[in-house]
C-alpha cells in the first residue's frame, strides 16, 4: 500500500527540476508579514474603530445641516464642524490601542503556548529579528495603518456630510470652506509618531513580560505595580510609584496635544505647536532608553525559551 510520502519526495529528481537557487532573504520583512498573517487585528482593529465612529456619525446625520448653519452664522462654533472627523480618529485610536496592548502581551507568550516557537526557531531568523519585528507591529505597522484608515474614514465622512448638506438645500462650499483638515491631518501624523515613541517602553515592557511569564502574562505585567504601589501606600502613605505607569499611559496625549502638558490648553492651530518642546522632552528619551533595555531583555529571554 502506498501513502502520500511514497510519491511526495520523488518527483523533483525524476522530472529533473532545476537545482535550488539561493535567493536573498528578507527575514525582518517576512517576520512582519508573518505577524500580520497571524494577527489580522493589525488592520481589523483600526477598521472597526473607523466603522464604529462612522456608524455613530451616520445615525446623527440630522445634526449636520444645523452645525453648518451655526458655523456660517457664528465663526465661534466652527470647531463643531470638525467633531465627526475627530471622532473617526478617536475610534481608530481607541481600538488600535486596545489591540496593541493585547498583541504585545501575547506576542512572545503565544508562540510558546502553541509550541510553534520550535518551528520558528528551526528557521534562520535570529531572536533579535523576531523580537524587533514584534515590537515594530504596534510601534510602526499599526500607526501606518491607522493613518491610512483615519484618512479614508474621514474622506467617507466628508462625502457623506456633503451629501447631507446638499440634500438639506445648503451649499456644500459652506461646509468645505470651514473645515480645517490641514491642521488635523498634520496632528494625526505627528501625534501618532509621537505616541509610538512615547509608548515604546510600554510595548517593550509587555514584550519582556510576555517572554518571561509562564502563564497569565497580563497579570504578571500589572502585578508589580499593584504590589509595590500597595507596599508604598502602607509604608509611606504615598502613591509615587503608581504615578509612573499613570504618567506613561496618560501623559503622552497631554504632551502631544496640549500647549503646556496640562489637559486644558489644547492646540488649536499651527501657531500653538512647538515640536522642539515635545520631541525634546526628557521623559520621551528616558522612555526610549527603557524601551531599548526591555527589548534587549526580551531578546535574551527568547533565546532560552522553550514551549510551555
Amino acid at each position: 500500500m502506498s501513502t502520500p510520502f511514497d510519491d511526495m519526495l520523488k518527483s523533483p529528481s525524476e522530472t529533473g527540476a532545476a537545482p535550488p537557487k539561493f535567493v536573498r532573504t528578507r527575514p525582518f520583512y517576512w517576520s512582519l508579514r508573518r505577524e500580520v498573517f497571524e494577527h489580522r487585528g493589525v488592520w481589523m482593529a483600526p477598521l472597526a474603530g473607523a466603522a464604529l465612529a462612522l456608524f455613530g456619525f451616520l445615525i446623527s446625520s440630522w445634526k449636520i445641516p444645523g452645525r453648518v448653519r451655526d458655523a456660517v452664522a457664528d465663526p465661534a462654533k466652527l470647531d463643531n464642524l470638525m467633531i465627526p472627523y475627530s471622532f473617526v480618529a478617536m475610534g481608530v485610536l481607541v481600538l488600535s490601542f486596545a489591540f496593541a496592548i493585547f498583541y504585545s502581551i501575547d506576542a512572545l507568550h503565544g508562540e510558546r503556548r502553541d509550541r510553534s516557537i520550535l518551528f520558528w526557531k528551526s528557521l534562520p531568523v535570529s531572536d533579535a529579528t523576531t523580537v524587533l519585528s514584534k515590537a515594530a507591529i504596534p510601534l510602526a505597522v499599526l500607526p501606518a495603518i491607522m493613518i491610512a484608515v483615519i484618512f479614508a474614514g474621514q474622506v467617507v465622512a466628508l462625502a457623506w456630510s456633503s451629501l447631507v448638506v446638499l440634500f438639506a438645500g445648503l451649499d456644500p462650499w459652506d461646509l468645505w470652506s470651514r473645515l480645517n483638515f490641514g491642521f488635523m491631518w498634520f496632528m494625526i501624523v505627528y501625534g501618532l509618531v509621537f505616541l509610538a515613541l512615547w509608548y515604546a517602553p510600554v510595548v517593550g515592557y509587555l514584550l519582556m513580560v510576555s517572554a518571561w511569564a509562564k502563564r497569565m502574562p497580563i497579570l504578571w505585567a500589572i502585578a508589580p505595580f499593584i504590589a509595590i504601589g500597595i507596599i508604598e501606600r502602607m509604608a509611606f502613605g504615598t502613591a509615587r510609584f503608581f504615578s509612573i505607569p499613570e504618567y506613561r499611559l496618560g501623559g503622552g496625549f497631554a504632551l502631544a496635544f496640549t500647549k503646556n502638558g496640562s489637559h486644558e490648553d489644547t492646540l488649536d492651530g499651527f501657531a500653538d505647536l512647538d515640536l522642539s518642546r515635545t520631541f525634546a522632552n526628557p521623559d520621551l528619551w528616558l522612555g526610549l532608553i527603557a524601551a531599548a533595555l526591555f527589548v534587549f531583555v526580551a531578546i535574551r529571554l527568547r533565546r532560552s525559551r522553550s514551549p510551555l
Partner: protein, 292 residues
Amino acid sequence: MAVIEARGLRKAFKNTVAVDGVDLKVEEGRILGLIGPNGAGKSTALSAILGLTSYEGQLRVLGCDPWTQRDQLMREVSFIADVAVLPRWMKVWQALDYVEGVHPRFDRAKAEGFLAKTNIKRTSKVRELSKGMVTQLHLALVMAIDARLLVLDEPTLGLDILYRKSFYDSLLNDYFDHSRTIVVTTHQVEEVQHILTDLMFIDHGKIVLDLTMEAFEARFAELMVSGERVAAARALGPIYERQFFGRTILLYDGAEEAKLAQLGEVRPASISDVFVAVITARHAAQPRGAAA
C-alpha cells in the same frame, strides 16, 4: 570536519543532570540513531545541538556554537522537533511564502511538488489538516530545504504505522545522500534499525553504547534454543534472556557465532533487545537515581 562534535557536553536543571558529560562525534553522511529511555537526556542533547538550550562543555555543529549562532546554524540545519509545532493559525500558502522569504536554501518548487502529491490545499489552515497531513506539510517544508544536517526528534510520534514506515523509507530513498547527515531519536526502534549507520544509547545523561551498525551486527547476536540446550547456552554468558513460546532466546555480546550455531538458531540481534539488555543491566547494577 565533523558535523557535530561535543566534548564534555553537560546540561543540568534544578533537580537533575539531563546530559552528563557527553562526548560525541558525528561525521558527514551518517544516520545516527539516538536511543534512550524517557528522561535519558536525548531531547536535551538535541536541544543543545540545535541551539535551543544553553549548555556546559564544548559543542560545535557545522563549526558554529549553536547557542550563540542559532540563526546562522539554521541555514544549514533543519529539524522536526515533533509533529505538533506548525502554527495552527497558519495557512499552507503563508507557510510556503514565509519559509521562502526567510530561508536561503529553501526550494519552493520542490516543496510545491511535494504538496501537489498530497490532498493538502493551499488555502487550508494547519488546524484544519489531519495529523498525518500536518506531518506531510512539515516534511514538505523541511525536505525542500537543502540542509547539511537534519535532526528528527520523535518525528513519527502519534502517526499510524503506514505513515511511519513510508516516512522513513522516503527519508532514506529520496532525501538522504552522502553529503547529508541525519540524527534521529525515536521509541519505535525497530522501524529505524534498517536505516541507521550509527547507533548510540543514552541513559541518565551518559552515552552507554556508541558504535556503527556494522560493529553492532558483528558484536551482538541472538540465539534461540530449547530444552536441554539452555544450560549450555547460558554457559556462554548471555547478556539477556527471555522466553518465547516455550523456547529461550538469549542475547550475546561478542560471542563466537560458530559456537552459538551449534546450540540452536542464530539471528541478528535487534536494537530493541540489545537496548533492553543494556539498560536493564545498568539499572540493576546502579539503581535509578543513583546515577544522577
